[in-house]
Symmetry: C2
Subunit: 295 residues, 2 copies
């Protein structure tokens, strides 16, 4: 693809690409057990902003990786994200009935099937990385496993659960989000970056700063949108966090300061990329897009 | 350890060994998020027959692997097994309150924490294989991922769910169990075998026959015990399958024929090992133990 195309064109093309990759890697809805495979496809395909896949592709661009090499990294991280949403939406967790404008997986397929679909999506993520990751498959599996587990995403969700009605301070809130959302966003960037040339220590540290800032910005924007957005533009129930008494950046900082924090994180992300050449372009554009998105 | 010690001594020593390995690899119960880590440890430690770990160690013995090399394979497969039990016991699945004589994980920690603990245990299994598996880490991750996913264990559970009240024939029941229980038992043997010398095609085929027979025997025995056992010796609710109208080997074949099937599978497993030397001893002993166990 022409490297100069606008971000909107690039991101649309990449979102379509990851959709095809996922479609090809998920078992057909007719394969036994059909209901499970249908639920897995329902949970993964046809929706979402594919932020994590885009970050993986943009990370790959930074290190000159072949797009085909990045495919399985991008797909694996989207599978982990999709599984986490399915389990998050279950009645015993957030009890959400709407996701991406559609009934949530357990509403459509029943709780037991949704639970198993989430479980099998996690397995599939590792299957993909271990099977087709052409570069460092074991290291990539390790990175994704750590980002997903009890000291990453699942750990963040556990802290989130425990925080309902609790008086978290800003530091505790940030720790929670760095795990709950940040760890996987971070992994997305790293998995993509690792598909290309090796980076120097200085470059690696810059990538860490970028990923860390973007991961947190994503969550702060989410909190802002939970207050400002509507169910129509979000495709999910708005105002839910406040209604559940969950601490958010907006509840702790106020709306204006939360927005300032987003701008500050966006600037940090851009600054981290300053030492890279034009290869960093898509990462820079994603940072802007995340900070400025309205849904 | 003296290679001539009795099976009871060997298996007790190995069960203690895997307990230590798991204890060392699970995060301490005090690490944040403490409740999640406590639930993970509760679900994994202090119980179970460790059949899968024993099969991995015995498989390693067949190919002359160092026991230390087999440790992470044995631990990974036990982690997958433990996660599956936690999710299986949830109210939306089997709704069980007793496991290994203790309250199930969600009874002890709540449903949401149990769900996340299961999720994080699956991640940890891959983390372990990818991080410390000294031989073929990516291939080992791939093997475990396939055995765990929608065409393995999770798929078998989905078929099991769909089978409540349904009239499965023997072939369908066998397909279900080959996935639900057999896939992971099979993976346990293979993960262990892969830690040592490479096998010839003929030897590999024999290992497949062994693993397949033992995996199925395990399930048929389970069905027999569900009828004959008591909650005290089983450490879980007996008679549950029959009460739920689930098809079992006993309901399809009758008790006497189900026991004959076990004996037939035991003989098949032993026959598969006939071409191996004394390295196959522990695998042979496990096949007998599985077929003859009373709980």
């Amino acid at each position: 693809m022409n490297p100069d195309v606008a971000f909107a064109v690039w991101s649309r093309e990449r979102a379509q690409r990851i959709e095809s990759v996922l479609d090809a890697r998920l078992a057909p809805a007719t394969a036994t057990p059909a209901q499970l495979h249908e639920a897995m496809r329902y949970a993964v395909l046809g929706g979402g902003k594919r932020v994590r896949a885009l970050l993986a592709y943009a990370g790959g661009q930074l290190t000159g990786a072949d797009t085909g090499v990045v495919d399985c990294a991008a797909a694996a991280v989207e599978l982990i994200h999709a599984y986490s949403l399915v389990h998050d939406d279950l009645p015993c967790m957030d009890d959400d009935i709407l996701r991406r404008g559609k009934p949530t997986c357990h509403v459509a397929f029943g709780e037991a099937t949704a639970l198993l679909a989430g479980d099998a999506l996690q397995s599939l993520a590792f299957e993909l990385l271990a099977e087709v990751a052409p570069r460092h498959p074991a290291a990539q599996c390790l990175l994704l496993a750590r980002a997903s587990g009890s000291r990453g995403m699942a750990g963040g969700q556990a802290i989130d659960l425990a925080s309902v009605g609790a008086a978290l301070d800003l530091q505790q809130l940030e720790t929670m989000h760095r795990l709950k959302t940040g760890a996987l966003i971070h992994a997305a960037v790293r998995l993509g970056v690792n598909c290309g040339r090796a980076l120097t220590d200085v470059e690696n540290a810059a990538v860490e700063r970028y990923a860390s800032a973007v991961g947190l910005a994503f969550q702060v924007v989410d909190d802002v949108l939970d207050v400002e957005g509507s169910a129509t533009t979000l495709g999910k129930t708005a105002g839910k966090d406040a209604a559940q008494g969950k601490p958010t950046y907006v509840s702790l900082l106020g709306l204006a300061a939360a927005k300032e924090r987003v701008e500050d994180l966006r600037a940090k992300a851009q600054a981290a990329l300053s030492g890279f050449g034009p290869g960093a372009r898509r990462l820079a554009e994603i940072a802007d897009w995340i900070a400025l998105r309205s849904h």
